[in-house]
């Protein structure tokens, strides 16, 4: 078992490009990590034997809207043997949302990341198969972005009903 502060120490030592911050407003407790360090942090969390976050429960994209100009990706991690839980958050710029994929660490991230790419247009580098998953491949735009406007016609069928 490790306390949150000890986990935060491990995350801090894994970060090379900046320093992580504790996010107070989340349940479970969250840490904001610089986007460049996400792979190093995740690797530390997964392979450190005293934490062993073996279960990636959920990966979420969040669009903060054009006013704010940022997007976020939130990872919810659980450790089955120790019953730890942690939320890791990454803030990306809205103009160029690119982040490393974690799908080679947890295979469950594969479809989650495809869904985030589909809905938000966030690009996951080194993802094995980054295609749209829920929407048709020739659909325009990313529906869960806050400024999304649906196309008027899809295949000569009116989209609005």
């Amino acid at each position: 078992m490790r306390t949150f502060d000890e986990m935060f120490e491990v995350i801090r030592s894994a970060c090379g490009n900046g320093s992580p911050t504790v996010d107070e407003n989340t349940t479970p407790k969250g840490v904001k990590v610089p986007p460049g360090d996400i792979l190093a942090v995740m690797r530390a969390l997964l392979f450190d034997e005293s934490m062993f976050f073996d279960s990636l429960s959920c990966v979420t994209g969040i669009d903060n809207g054009p006013g704010d100009g940022t997007m976020e990706v939130a990872y919810n991690l659980y450790s089955i043997p120790y019953n730890h839980h942690l939320m890791i958050k990454v803030t990306l710029s809205r103009d160029n949302p690119v982040i490393e994929s974690v799908s080679h660490l947890w295979r469950t991230a594969d479809w989650f990341e495809r869904e985030i790419f589909d809905m938000f247009g966030i690009i996951f580098l080194n993802h094995p198969d980054l295609r749209r998953i829920l929407m048709p491949a020739d659909w325009d735009g990313h529906p869960l972005r806050k400024d999304y406007k649906q196309q008027e016609y899809y295949r000569d069928i009116k989209v609005a009903y």
Binding site: T27, K89, W106, R132, P136, R155
Partner: protein, 406 residues
């Protein structure tokens, strides 16, 4: 008013442009072929399309294509107040709506900080209806699974018994499948007078029927031959792929969120968490998964009996009990991110909420659906097997496409 003319120009490329196949037919060797299963195929349990690369009768690769039932749940949720999302939540896993509602309501209550202030009677009724619905969902899973691989009779028997549950829930909530019964901070109604007695009658009725089910389906030699040693899911792969629910427990890990997280009144209730033991073949095969579901029905009956005891003794119906008494007047959580998870019949259902603290509408509401994640393990399981076994594996995953596509 004349109906607007639908102007759809037929174009042979339309299908390949909207859902292009991943496999390349031009690169096939002479002994290989691509078989397309679905989207409209009874054994795919809904609108699931599988692109299967085969060599003779051996499956070499499976590529699932999903999204045919996509209804923009998350987009809808971003445009509606918290309490009006509940009918949409019902439609995620439409054979276990009560469990979905329970998870969602719990998440919003946790954000509001009223989770532990609800009357015990409300919590026990929630657990009672959730467990009834869990049994109904497992009946569908086991029944249709038997039908997938050729056993028709158990399906009819289980549909007949499921009807009793649906009538009970209809009596309580007014709807057969999509209930809108569990509200944020309470319930729509108290359970009707006489409900407890009818539930007990049902529990007494169902025990011998489950023994029949065991004999006719699970111990059936043909069923064992079709499922034992088929679709073996090793535990490490299961955890790495995020598999939860009876699939994970079928692989031998005693991990049930009702026990691990201990939400609602589950800590006060005595029940076991059944796991697969590899009784008929290797650990984590299709037979183990089905057997875990059947054992869970027995455990749910235990939980129901204990809830009924509490609801007729300690927390019995009183004249002034109002299940809507604790409904918040205004659902406006303070700004926060919250991830909540709960055990529904298929696995871990999670909701990620972001509330901005200014409106009654969630800023972001993500549904982590267990069928979606469980289905993603299919390409791993379906390597080097026969096509007939692929059907057996899809059935044992127990997907509900309404939840996969959301």
């Amino acid at each position: 008013m004349a109906a607007e003319k639908v102007q759809y120009k037929y174009n042979p490329d339309n299908l390949t442009r909207s859902v292009p196949g991943k496999l390349n037919p031009a690169a096939l060797r002479s002994e290989e072929m691509i078989v397309n299963l679905g989207p409209q195929h009874p054994s795919t349990h809904g609108v699931l399309r599988l692109e299967v690369l085969m060599e003779g009768e051996i499956v070499k690769e499976v590529v699932p294509h999903i999204g045919y039932l996509h209804r923009c749940f998350e987009k809808h949720a971003e445009n509606l107040p918290y309490n009006q999302v509940i009918p949409f939540v019902d439609r995620l896993d439409y054979v276990a709506s009560m469990n979905n509602e329970h998870a969602y309501a719990m998440g919003v209550e946790r954000m509001l900080g009223i989770e532990n202030q609800l009357p015990k009677r409300v919590e026990y009724i929630r657990v009672l209806v959730s467990e009834l619905n869990r049994i109904a969902s497992h009946f569908i899973a086991v029944g249709t699974y038997g039908m997938d691989i050729g056993a028709f009779t158990p399906f009819f028997w289980l549909m007949r018994d499921r009807e009793h549950i649906l009538r009970l829930l209809e009596w309580a909530s007014g709807a057969r499948l999509l209930y809108n019964y569990i509200w944020i901070g309470g319930l729509f109604y108290d359970i009707p007078v006489g409900f407890e007695d009818r539930c007990r009658e049902f529990v007494n009725y169902i025990h011998p029927k489950l023994e029949e089910l065991q004999t006719v389906l699970l111990d059936n030699k043909i069923f064992i031959q079709r499922t034992a040693n088929v679709g073996v899911l090793p535990l490490e792969l299961a955890i790495n792929c995020g598999v939860t629910g009876p699939m994970l427990r079928g692989s031998g890990l005693r991990y049930d969120l009702r026990r691990v997280d201990g939400y609602s009144v589950y800590p006060e209730i005595d029940f076991d968490v059944p796991i697969g033991k590899g009784a008929m073949g290797q650990l984590g095969d299709c037979w183990d998964r089905t057997h875990v579901r059947v054992l869970e029905i027995h455990e749910s009956l235990k939980i129901i009996t204990q809830c009924l005891d509490k609801l007729t003794m300690e927390h019995k119906r009183t004249r002034d009990f109002d299940p809507q008494a604790f409904l918040p007047k205004k659902i406006r959580p303070k700004a926060q991110d919250l991830y909540v998870r709960a055990e529904i019949p298929k696995g871990e259902l999670g909701f990620f909420f972001r509330s901005d603290g200014k409106t009654d509408i969630p800023f972001r509401c993500k549904c982590r659906s267990c069928s979606f994640v469980n289905l993603s393990v299919l390409p791993e399981l379906a390597k080097g097997i026969l096509l007939a076994d692929l059907i057996a594996i899809i059935g044992s995953i127990d997907v509900v496409m309404g939840e996969v596509d959301r």
